[in-house]
Symmetry: C2
Subunit: 250 residues, 2 copies
């Protein structure tokens, strides 16, 4: 059985952990990183460093039009909506946050599936591989516990999306290869993700979670707060903070 | 009831007919045209002319990365796969054609839905409109008869995609506004589409269907053959050919 797979790598802790998980399970793995006008390029630099350390193929996908299309989001239009600073972790996750980008995961999955299907079609129709020996996987790092507020991070959404991708593709309908969406950390808490990432020896020291693009994580955005809580509960210091402090002291 | 809608306009006969249909039904309509490295820009020029004649808002969406991602397609990589010339119309539509672009409609629908959701969220959260007075529609021109070979032109695919878009969006889950996908010509034959376009006074003389980007339609690609058959059965000359001939003689 040959598994052709892609992993959606933002450069954050969650997607890096999922990428380390996918690497163990797939011989043909490509990491896809989307550049869609995030507020900073720190995540993309992190993703590049991570794939080079892990030794996997990398593809940067530019979606410049997303800024214009999904304009109603604090992640894309910070002037319109300042990114909130929470001081209490319990405030996070009770309604859909303003950092929600309309249909972002659906756009990412569609583009990822297009790339994946092209690879699988080439394997069958050009390289002559047998379709019954192939499967196709998209690995993604949604987390239903921390991000229950995001509609496109919920398990029922992924169920429908998997059907849509398979029904809308040649490999799904002509070769009976469903496009699987694997979400290995969807039910994990942040502390469990931290432990999983450490266990898999993911290069956590190069991950970037902060919504801001400053030299040092801001420590007050939702993403920084959740990350800090995860490491605190795991009883281990954040390798990123250790590396940055070492760098500062060097 | 306010209907916020987008229509996917390639510049061809089918999508122009659907756009004319959508215009009659929606006060807030935006036509979206995707530029993804098609073989020629003729379609885009046609779309621009059509929206200016119809007087509707237009948005050109650049997806340069699609060339790279969905590389396994004759529509994107003509050198890899020459576009076939059929001499017999009955040869068309029996298997998935090599002009199929992996997951193209899913990518288009995701981007269209993102734009649409941004508009609806602004109407509710900025302009203060009541969600129960709003609905959200994507108009699209798949045709299950002529394009039964394309998996992403079949009704069952659209059913799942509608669920995916609604479940993956804030308007679908928090405001109970499903993202509807309207496919008004999905069950029509080409002759019925021709008649519908003429009845709606769609600017057919500016549409472009040919897969090639020459000055005059090639008349031998699948798309030209199907179009010619439609006009022949409707017993009316193709307004595009009349216009081009007039132009040549002028």
């Amino acid at each position: 059985m040959t598994s052709i797979a892609v992993t959606l790598l933002s450069g954050g802790l969650d997607s890096t952990t999922v990428t380390a998980y996918a690497k163990k399970r797939n011989s043909q793995l490509t990491a896809l990183t989307f550049n869609y006008g995030q507020n900073h390029s720190k995540e993309i630099e992190s993703a590049k460093k991570i794939v080079s350390i892990m030794g996997i193929e990398h593809k940067l996908i530019e979606i410049p039009s997303l800024i214009d299309l999904a304009s109603y989001s604090a992640l894309i239009n910070p002037d319109m909506f300042p990114i909130p600073s929470h001081t209490n972790v319990d405030e996070i996750g009770h309604s859909i946050p303003i950092t929600y980008v309309p249909l972002r995961n659906t756009i990412f999955l569609s583009l990822a599936a297009s790339f994946l299907e092209s690879k699988v079609l080439q394997a069958i129709e050009i390289d002559g591989e047998k379709s019954e020996n192939l499967n196709a996987h998209i690995y993604m790092a949604p987390n239903a516990i921390d991000y229950s507020g995001y509609p496109d991070c919920r398990p029922e959404y992924f169920e429908y999306m998997k059907q849509s991708l398979s029904l809308g593709s040649k490999i799904g309908t002509e070769y009976d290869i469903p496009i699987e969406i694997s979400t290995p950390i969807i039910s994990l808490s942040k502390v469990e993700i931290v432990r999983m990432g450490m266990r898999l020896k993911a290069p956590i020291e190069y991950t970037w979670s902060c919504y801001r693009g400053t030299d040092f994580p801001c420590s007050v955005c939702d993403s920084c707060i959740l990350r800090a809580k995860g490491f605190k509960e795991a009883g281990t210091p954040d390798p990123l903070l250790l590396r940055l402090k070492d760098k500062k002291n060097a």
